[in-house]
Symmetry: C2
Subunit: 314 residues, 2 copies
């Protein structure tokens, strides 16, 4: 029988699951509320039930995309800012207990999964090495080198949002100053709008999650303050991309996540800044691409994590 | 017969050559003036003569460490700021012509060679992945991932000196603003001293290459302005290290090059800043080590480049 892999993406709102065959064909897809805001134990119950629902079909391995810092070797969740009680939580072990064991489980950071998804079947298809930047609540990342996800010695690699781009700059949620996430993320946009009296008034009453879209609408209507914010957003993104390209010399950078909806408002400045700051820019053949898989990147990446885990560890 | 590898390190002053066996034993070592300041053609003549001098002994391959941006696949020197007429110079081809051909030649950036040297037989021995930072005239780098030098898609990876740490900061020789090299290098120290009236007077008449050492002497004698400059130097180095660790999650960072002679004056601040800016710092087990091979790192790394080149390409 052909092998089948189940990928699950843990979101703030939903658990999304998908089964693919080893040829990459999608077989089944489901979605239930994650209730992640109710803490890790509720999430684990929901996750276990969700997995059991799928396993009427024979599954060879499960891959799980988690919004947090993951120790893939030990199977622990080191920290997840948006799920309570997760500090060094033994994720794989706790899930094994609940599902009664027999399926190999692999966990990975969700932005790393998204990178793998775009690499295999999305905007990075056919490239040998790439970086994916996910612009959402935060600034997530994943790195593919020579066809493989690079996760580093502790599984912490790709914490791209916490690259410093301005040592004495704004305070980030991480506690350090001037992280790129403090300039290029939904959280950053909230701060920037709050600090700008004119925009604060124009956008008053908007929920945080809707702010980037509303700000993009304003910019498209030629609001000068809004245009200027997206320009700065693009420049700061370009600084971050240039750091990554100078260090890693990848050929492809893929930019995705919810905020990439404002693509045409920031990409020009991002390219300009990248080119200015990359050594030997003209010789590199660098491609900066918009992600194409949307929300599917994470869940597809999780399927591939299951596949890779099975090949590498068994 | 056992295979032997010749490594050559091209310096501003000297060509240094060394032969090692495949067991890593050193057999022979020579040095002649490089005359690199007289341009690439004189350098190629000297290099060809130097190689012929060694090949009385049977050599399996030659590795050459070059102070510039190198396209290792094509064998070209993309640019070398300190050697005239080097823009896209066909280095390997030109050298083959002069030595009459039969030995496999491999070229590599000198800081990458130094990283490989420290990784194999120096401060990075036994680690799986590391970054080496070389603090000299500029800020050089080399990256080892999973035991292999990571050179990227064009061979440009590891241009660590041109990571932006302050987008609106000082102009770097690269033409972009706020590169770490503009803060943490001999060139940077020259600028910083020139901008500081008190130190400019105390150090007037000192040659640029001797400035870091004189500035270190002042700091060791408790000169407050000098201490403060080394503190800033350390903090900026720490910012750069934190970026690399957040992105790559290596376990070991090795710091070498001439300016590492002032180690005790900057390392405290560098560690402090690194810890503050690395996500999950306490869980990483990060080691920041001083390089141990000194000037030998580059020439030894060049020997290993010859060995690796022979294994991978023939």
């Amino acid at each position: 029988m052909k092998r089948r892999f189940l990928g699950i993406d843990i979101g703030g709102t939903n658990l999304r699951g998908k089964i693919i065959t080893e040829q990459g064909d999608s077989l089944d897809e489901k979605k239930i509320p994650s209730e992640a805001n109710m803490g890790i134990f509720r999430l684990m119950e929901n996750l276990a039930g969700f997995i059991k629902n799928f396993t009427a079909e024979k599954i060879s391995a499960v891959g799980i995309a988690i919004p947090g810092i993951v120790d893939t070797k030990r199977g622990t969740l080191v920290q997840a800012p948006n799920i309570a009680n997760t500090k060094n939580f033994p994720f794989t072990e706790a899930l094994f207990e609940r599902i009664g064991g027999a399926i190999p489980l692999f966990i990975e950071n969700d932005a790393a999964c998204a990178a793998l998804g775009e690499y295999r079947v999305g905007a990075g298809r056919g490239t040998n090495s790439m970086v994916m930047i996910t612009l959402g609540t935060g600034f997530g990342g994943g790195i593919i080198l020579d066809g493989k996800l690079w996760r580093g010695e502790n599984g912490f690699a790709g914490e791209l949002g916490h690259m410093t781009i301005n040592p004495s700059g704004h305070l980030c949620n991480s506690g350090s100053r001037g992280c790129v996430e403090a300039y290029v993320s939904q959280v950053a946009i909230k701060r920037i709008v709050r600090e700008n009296q004119e925009l604060r008034e124009k956008l008053s009453g908007t929920e945080e999650s809707a702010l980037p879209e509303r700000l993009a609408e304003l910019a498209r209507k030629k609001d000068r303050a809004a245009i200027s914010i997206w320009n700065d957003f693009g420049s700061n993104l370009g600084v971050a991309i240039s750091i990554l390209v100078n260090v890693l010399d990848v050929k492809t950078v893929v930019v995705g996540g919810g905020l990439s909806g404002a693509w045409e408002l920031f990409i020009g400045k991002a390219l300009e800044e990248t080119e200015k700051r990359c050594i030997g820019a003209e010789a590199r053949g660098l491609q900066i691409q918009r992600a194409v898989l949307g929300d599917d990147a994470g869940v597809l990446g999780a399927c591939y994590i299951a596949e890779i885990g099975l090949v590498e560890r068994f």
